[in-house]
Amino acid sequence: MKSVRVFFVGGLISYRALFSWLNPWVYVPSFLVMPIFQILLFVYIGRSAKLQSDSFYVIGNALQFAAIPCLFAMANTIAGERNQQTLGYILITPARRLPLFLGRALPVATNGFFVALFALVAGSAIVGTHVAASGYAPIVLVIAVSAFACTGLGLINAAIGLVARETAVLSNILFGGLLVLSGANVPVHDLPIVLRQVSEGVPLTHGIAAARKLASGSSVGSVLGLLGAEALIGLAYAALGYALIRGTETLSRRRATLERA
């Protein structure tokens, strides 16, 4: 019961404490306005170059933008402990580490889900793209799974930020990497073969592909494989991220690596 409370209540309080973008003056432009600009940029490039449909770019960029809250917020809510000098106080509590750290991932993934969903709905309305009626509910599920998978990558980002004492640089690099590799704007089969292989192992690739198929009228059954792959990738990243955070804590007791401000 105590661990359940640490996961839910503790996770939410620490998210509020450490994610400074929750201020409306930052949240609205960063999470609600920016994805629309990104969608419009690629839709107009696509139209100008006569490459893909508007729907291709709207779905791809709406889901890919979940990476902003998932990467930045996850890194801030864990690595930010070091900047606030609260890390030592956290580490000397007897709280179980799994709910302590993963509890912070829940509000992060939830926010990523809402940002991507808003971008998809608003982007579709502005650009005027059509989504098959049968696809709405499954697409919501795909967005949730994709946000979870991206949060898994965010946990690895957080572990590195904990040691490096810097979160924005790596978050930006990962966001840029996903922009290229996830198939948001360039079809995966058009990527060079090496990048295509990397693309198969990053979050969002399978989620974006599944959402596009659902929007074009495919059945839920036809995307179950993609959805499962996205969930598995998310789990793998989350497990690795958590292991890295725990490893960092253990190393810190031995070498005082997290002690230096």
């Binding site: 105590k2 409370r5 640490v6 209540v9 503790g10 309080i13 620490s14 509020r16 404490a17 450490l18 400074s20 606030q84 000098q85 609260t86 030592g88 106080y89 956290i90 580490l91 000397i92 509590t93 007897p94 709280a95 302590l100 007791r253 031995r254 070498r255 005082a256 002690e259």
Partner: protein, 332 residues
């Protein structure tokens, strides 16, 4: 009060047991030519703290006080030696130790600035597993204890330094720990606030808690601590009651002479006087004060003044040795 508590310790088992505890830091510099430097922060310290005792750990900056505390609170592993808190090894039984200890670090960082004081406490109450029903009452009690009742819903970013310190103390006591580690808890706090904090610290032992306190303020250690260990360059150089430490300086007198622009050679000549046990030169406001500790039964004021011929001399006074004199003599 202190005597009766001291008698009680003799009957009690030690709550904190530290044996030959050591910690070495290894740091590397350079990218192509890596150079590793080892720093021995703590070099085999040993001490015990009995139940209900308020034990002071004094020492200059970098002496190893905070490193010792960090090992005791399970944040750092010792490189040698052992430490047990309530019979639990701090290296092997970290989680069990954490349930039973509280830690308060001085300074105005270490709190969630964007949260209210109340939410800071609520969060840590969750991490310490304080039951929701108990939590509300406990937080209210602690807010009363540290004088933050009525201000708990304000964001911490608007708190004064003293308020932050008090919030630190409340956080350290949320789970009603048996042992409390206080690392310079009154640092930077105004005199009135510091006095209130000292009263709060004194109340902890009255409530049966065992306290380890580090401080740079000698009068604070003298007033609060039952026993004191002085640590310098990673080693304990003296240990005992404040009275015993003061007596260790000798039964002599401390002569203080205000001087202006005194030369080092003059200080050395005073130091060489027969009957002088220690000499220090302190800067106080616009003047310097030559502090000379003399051996018992020696009247050296005239001899010292004789050596100051040619220097501008102000007020001359003599007094009994204080804990600060004992401390200076031990760490210099």
């Amino acid at each position: 009060m202190r005597l009766s508590r001291s008698l009680a310790y003799a009957r009690n088992v030690a709550v904190v047991e530290v044996e030959e505890l050591a910690r070495t830091y290894r740091t590397s510099t350079g990218i192509l030519r890596r150079r590793t430097v080892e720093v021995e922060a703590v070099r085999g310290v040993s001490f015990e703290i009995a139940k209900g005792e308020l034990f002071g750990l004094l020492g200059p900056n970098g002496a190893g006080k905070t490193t010792t505390i960090k090992m005791l609170i399970t944040l750092l592993l010792p490189t040698a030696g052992t430490a047990r808190v309530l019979g639990l090894d701090v290296a092997r039984n970290a989680r069990e130790v954490r349930k039973r200890i509280g830690y308060v670090f001085g300074g105005d960082r270490g709190l969630y600035e964007r949260l209210s004081g109340l939410d800071n406490l609520r969060y840590f109450a969750e991490l310490y597993g304080v039951e929701p029903r108990v939590q509300k009452l406990r937080i209210q009690e602690l807010l009363q204890l540290v004088g933050l009742a009525g201000r708990e819903r304000e964001k911490v970013e608007g708190y004064s330094r003293g308020m932050r310190q008090r919030l630190h103390i409340a956080r350290g006591l949320l789970h009603d720990p048996e042992v409390v580690f206080l690392d310079e808890p009154t640092i930077g706090v105004d005199p009135v606030g510091a006095r209130e904090l000292r009263a709060t610290i004194a109340a902890l032992t009255d409530a049966g808690k065992t306290v380890l306190l580090t401080t740079h303020y000698m009068f604070e250690a003298d007033a609060l601590c039952d026993r004191i260990a002085v640590i310098a360059q990673g080693r304990i150089v003296a240990q005992g009651t404040p009275q015993a430490l003061k007596a260790g300086v000798g039964e002599g007198t401390v002569v203080e002479i205000e001087v202006y622009g005194i030369e080092d050679a003059v200080v050395e000549r005073v130091r060489a006087l027969d009957g002088v046990s220690n000499v220090g030169l302190e800067a106080r406001d616009q003047k310097q004060v030559l502090v000379v500790q003399t051996l018992p039964g020696r009247e050296l004021v005239h001899a010292i003044l004789g050596h100051l011929h040619g220097s501008e001399v102000g007020r001359v006074s003599s007094r009994e040795p204080t804990l600060e004199d004992a401390y200076v003599a031990l760490v210099e």
